[in-house]
């Protein structure tokens, strides 16, 4: 009893802290977020780490020393320090890093430039440009590399020569046709939309009084850009940089097509090879090294942002946007932008669309036009009797499933990204915030197939309150949400960092609960970023294949898994019909979202 008061003081302090923690929604959301991440990401990753440290029965293939069930460093040593490490690991790592850095840099220039033009200048055709910016991302990335080859192919890989070679009668050198340069270019064009949307959202919510103030005290335009605009959008730019970097580093389709002819392998292509050759452990080691690289990159990122104050641009004060006038550059700039984007985005799309109407691919005359691949019945002389896509009995089911998966997953992912982003932004100096930030980034590095394989085990049987999800649409939605977390959390975090604490504090004083604050304040203010997240996740989910193919059962077939059958049979037109349908859906959803979401990237932040 005598000890009680002393203990008591200590306990009160501790309890006070607990109470504050409980009161602070940040910790509650943070805890829930961590719980979610622990089960859906950390557990699979730990499982992967574990498999790299034990002998499996299958390892008898690799060495006679294999001792199933016992611990070993053999797999790590094989990848990192054996006679094939140079070809299997180090060279691909160097290639991957250089591609990753270059792609981020190029897409930063493309994406930020475009975002600046659209949000801060008086360039005409803003809506058109914004819309066009999304299109390259709609196309599968291998299509852009195919287009590259059509132009720049040289005789090395045979076949019909590239357009450039036919016109100039000079073969482009290998380095233009294959490997590093084309990989960087196609990936940059494909992925720069991330920069465009992230930085665009940041720029458009920036108060132009800041720029005006700077101009008033005599700063030149460049100086304003460098001293005012750049620091303000830095968090978004860095988020974009890291996102694109990791996306590029782990991309497979483009490097496989453009890299193999010149033996340009990246970690991702090696990883895919290990996977297909059933050297699963080797694949796990490779993806874990990718994760380590990314953790390094994120650490650097946090050092860069953490050292600065975070700049609040959305405050309680009124704001207005004044556009920079382009003067006599206005029309040339608009024309150049639109023409450039039409060439990279619209032309491939139209070629593809036209192709779906050609009975025989490549011959462009009226007699060859047909609707067979869309509507036709079975005709034994075409594709051995395969019916048109809309006649395929599975089509409706696949369409329904795709819409359901993409629709639900993108809404959940966007909201979840904002919530997790809240923890990251408000708790950026706490271990919790950093942890959520880092953990949510892992899914980019877990190969879709590995993640899916682990999910089968985890969700095939009911565990605690989680029912058996395997075989349902839900598990496909879940894995899509998880796989997109890196992007949605970054987008959510970047957007919330710009919203001043004072707004929330004022709301607290006004007696608003956290839920009200979230619904009435944070949600509307980050509407634009939310919409971007929704759109990109929607597109991603509509296009997703590798990730879900193992989790799909006949009843949960989607549009992309339907194309799998067509691709394997070599039915190009049918594959493209499905692709066009997917693109049409995405475009419709985009337009609807812009119309009814009332968030327009080209204008000031929604609601203001």
């Amino acid at each position: 009893m005598l000890h009680r008061p002393a203990l008591h003081a200590w306990q009160t302090r501790w309890l006070n802290r607990c109470r504050n923690a409980l009161r602070n929604p940040l910790y509650l959301i943070g805890a829930a977020a961590l719980l979610f991440l622990a089960y859906t990401i950390v557990w699979p990753v730990l499982h992967m780490i574990y498999t790299t440290l034990v002998w499996r029965t299958q390892d008898a293939r690799l060495t006679a020393a294999a001792d199933p069930g016992h611990l070993t460093f053999y797999h790590w040593q094989r990848v990192l320090a054996s006679d094939i490490s140079w070809s299997l690991f180090y060279k691909p790592v160097v290639n991957a890093l250089s591609v990753g850095l270059s792609v981020s840099a190029v897409s930063m220039i493309l994406g930020c430039g475009l975002a600046w033009l659209v949000t801060r200048t008086d360039i005409p055709f803003k809506k058109t440009i914004t819309f066009l910016a999304i299109i390259p991302y709609l196309l599968p990335s291998w299509m852009l590399s195919q287009a590259w080859l059509t132009f720049f192919k040289n005789s090395k890989i045979g076949g019909t020569p590239g357009i450039l070679q036919s016109l100039l009668h000079v073969a482009p050198p290998d380095w233009i046709s294959y490997g590093y340069v084309p990989i960087v270019m196609t990936l940059s064009i494909h992925d720069s939309v991330y920069f465009f949307l992230l930085v665009g959202a940041a720029l458009s919510s920036m108060n132009s009084q800041l720029e005006e103030a700077a101009e008033m005290v005599g700063a030149g335009r460049l100086q304003v850009l460098r001293r005012i605009v750049f620091p303000l959008v830095l968090p978004s730019v860095l988020s974009g940089f890291i996102l694109i970097f990791t996306k590029a580093v782990s991309s497979y389709g483009v490097p496989a097509l453009l890299g193999t002819p010149v033996n340009f392998y990246m970690i991702s292509t090696m990883l895919y090879s290990s996977m297909r050759s059933r050297l699963t452990t080797e694949a796990n080691v490779l993806s874990l090294t990718l994760m380590l690289i990314s953790i390094g990159a994120i650490y650097l990122n946090q050092r860069l942002i953490g050292r600065r104050r975070s700049y609040v641009t959305v405050s309680g004060k009124g704001s207005s946007v004044t556009y920079t006038t382009l003067g006599r550059w206005k029309l040339p700039a608009a024309a150049a932008t639109v023409i450039g984007m039409v060439i990279v985005a619209v032309v491939p799309l139209l070629v593809l669309l036209l192709q779906t109407f050609l009975l025989k691919d490549g011959s462009f005359n009226a007699a060859n036009l047909t609707l067979h691949y869309w509507l036709g019945g079975s005709d034994p002389s075409i594709n051995t009797g395969e019916k048109g896509v809309l006649q395929n009995p599975i089509f409706l089911l696949a369409l329904k499933n795709s819409l359901m998966i993409a629709g639900i997953a993108s809404v959940i992912a966007a909201v979840m990204g904002l919530l997790f982003g809240y923890v990251v932004a408000r708790g950026k100096n706490t271990a919790m915030g950093r942890l959520v930030d880092q953990l949510s980034f892992f899914p980019y590095f877990i190969p879709g197939i590995s993640l899916a394989a682990i999910y089968i085990t985890m969700f095939a049987k009911p565990v605690l309150f989680i029912p058996a999800l395997y075989g349902t649409i839900t598990i496909i939605i879940l894995i899509t949400v998880v796989k997109e977390l890196p992007f949605t959390v970054k987008a959510g975090g970047a957007s919330l960092m710009q919203i001043g604490n004072e707004l929330e504090e004022a709301a607290v004083l006004g007696g608003a609960s956290w839920f009200t604050r979230f619904r009435r304040l944070l949600l509307p203010l980050s509407r634009k970023s939310l919409l971007s997240a929704f759109i990109l996740v929607f597109i991603g989910a509509m296009k997703e294949m590798e990730l879900i193919i193992m989790l799909v059962t006949p009843r949960t077939e989607t549009l992309t898994t339907l194309t799998f059958y067509y691709v394997e049979k070599g039915y190009e037109q049918l594959t493209n019909v499905v692709l066009m349908i997917i693109i049409a859906i995405v475009v419709t959803v985009y337009l609807l979202a812009v119309k009814f979401g009332k968030a327009d990237l080209t204008k000031g932040i929604g609601g203001q």
């Binding site: 409980l22 977020a33 297909r276 050759s277 075989g471 006949p554």
Partner: protein
């Protein structure tokens, strides 16, 4: 004192609102799980219940029972009502369509998965006690299907006894299972440029005449291509003999272990061009007049007209043309619709006389049906093909080393 003790807890209870934040997050999580319960329960239940029912009623457990008749199977299959197929090949969909016309009471659901992913999928499913598929149609993955799936009893060999006598070896008794068709990797040439097959020996590819003019699909991303090279390593004496036949002298090894590895090394030294897939190879040599040759899948000849290629495969190369890549038909372990599954396998095999409609998707140019009573659409018969034996066990253990060797050539 007690007041102070209670205070924090009390206020903790009162400050209830922030809890909504967590509710929101957890709610999202729960929503996912709730969806699972509501929306997806039916396929789930469908998949698991009959599995137990079949097991419980202790039906014919032997895959090939003696007195199995199509009629009896059909009767049972009607009770089962459906069957689930995991297939690496789209040919399954075509066969399913005719099957459902013949047996309208049975609904066939086909899942298309790559052979290596299918192994993971089925292994994980079965380990978790979910027995979903009834019929497996798969290619080999360097012997891993045999070692990891067939030997442990996850895929079960099924060859109806009444059909067995018509089946060619090795698929009757020696192979891991019955294959309804097989194709292989071989050298293709451009028919506008060459009137006849330009090569007769694998070693021709290493001669100066073909420097920089040999294409292959990347064996690093396609195990079936690697299997051909691994088979050459495993049968290195054959390769050494072919070398002697071609050059008239014994092979000299340049730091390699045997004639198989030496062949790979010389192929690279001769400027082998690696492309992504089989189609890319045929595009490279077949789209325009070309003196180049390339390794592609024999089954691709069926796409010639559609793709506009001018190509032909070579079916006679020394020492052996290739190694078969078989499309195996298995029953899955604890197949929930076993009778329907068996009926479907019989359907795909073309029935008793091999003339049934179910056979059509498999009997194509470029593929062979290993049944003595089925007439092939190719100019040469299965028996005349000069192929190495697919030695799954040997390939399983040799292929990682050959793959390493291949990677080191880069």
């Amino acid at each position: 004192m007690k007041m102070k003790w209670k205070n924090p807890i009390g206020s903790g209870l009162r400050s209830y609102k922030p809890g909504k934040a967590a509710v929101l997050v957890l709610g999202t999580v729960l929503l996912l799980t709730a969806c699972g319960k509501a929306g997806g329960s039916s396929p789930d239940a469908d998949a698991s219940k009959p599995a137990n029912a079949v097991q419980g009623s202790s039906q014919t457990k032997k895959p090939a029972a003696n007195n199995e008749t199509v009629e009896a199977l059909y009767e049972q299959a009607k009770q089962e009502g459906k069957l689930i197929v995991y297939s690496t090949s789209g040919r399954a969909n075509d066969a399913a369509e005719t099957f459902m016309k013949q047996y309208p009471e049975i609904k066939v659901e086909v899942s298309k998965v790559k052979s290596d992913e299918m192994m993971d999928k089925v292994t994980k499913e079965q380990d978790a006690g979910q027995f979903n598929p009834d019929v497996i149609i798969t290619k080999e993955v360097s012997g891993a299907v045999e070692e990891e799936m067939v030997k442990p009893g996850r895929y079960i060999k099924y060859l109806p006894e009444d059909l067995a006598p018509m089946v060619d070896e090795p698929y009757r008794t020696q192979a891991e299972g019955y294959a309804n068709y097989l194709e292989f990797r071989t050298v293709f040439y451009n028919t506008e440029h060459y009137k006849t097959a330009p090569i007769t020996n694998w070693w021709d590819l290493t001669t100066p005449e073909y420097k920089g003019k040999v294409y292959t699909a990347d064996p690093l991303s396609s195990p079936a291509f690697m299997d051909l090279f691994t088979t050459m390593v495993v049968n290195s004496e054959d390769m050494a003999a072919a070398y002697k036949e071609k050059f008239g002298k014994d092979i000299e090894l340049h730091g390699t272990e045997n004639a198989g590895y030496e062949f790979i090394q010389q192929l690279f030294a001769n400027g082998l061009v690696v492309l992504k897939g089989s189609d890319d190879v045929l595009d490279a040599i077949g789209k325009a007049d070309s003196d180049a040759i390339g390794l592609a899948v024999s089954g691709d000849v069926s796409k010639v007209e559609e793709k506009g290629w001018s190509i032909l495969p070579i079916y006679d190369i020394k020492p052996k043309t290739s190694v078969p890549d078989s499309g195996y038909l298995f029953l899955a372990n604890k197949a929930p619709h076993e009778a329907a599954g068996k009926l479907f396998i019989r359907w795909m095999m073309g029935g008793k006389d091999g003339q049934g409609e179910g056979m059509n998707p498999f009997n194509e140019v470029g593929s062979w049906v290993p049944r003595s009573d089925v007439k092939t659409k190719n100019e040469i018969s299965f028996e005349q093909l000069n192929l190495w034996n697919y030695d799954g066990e040997a390939l399983y253990f040799a292929s990682p080393k050959v793959r390493d060797f291949w990677i080191k050539q880069k």
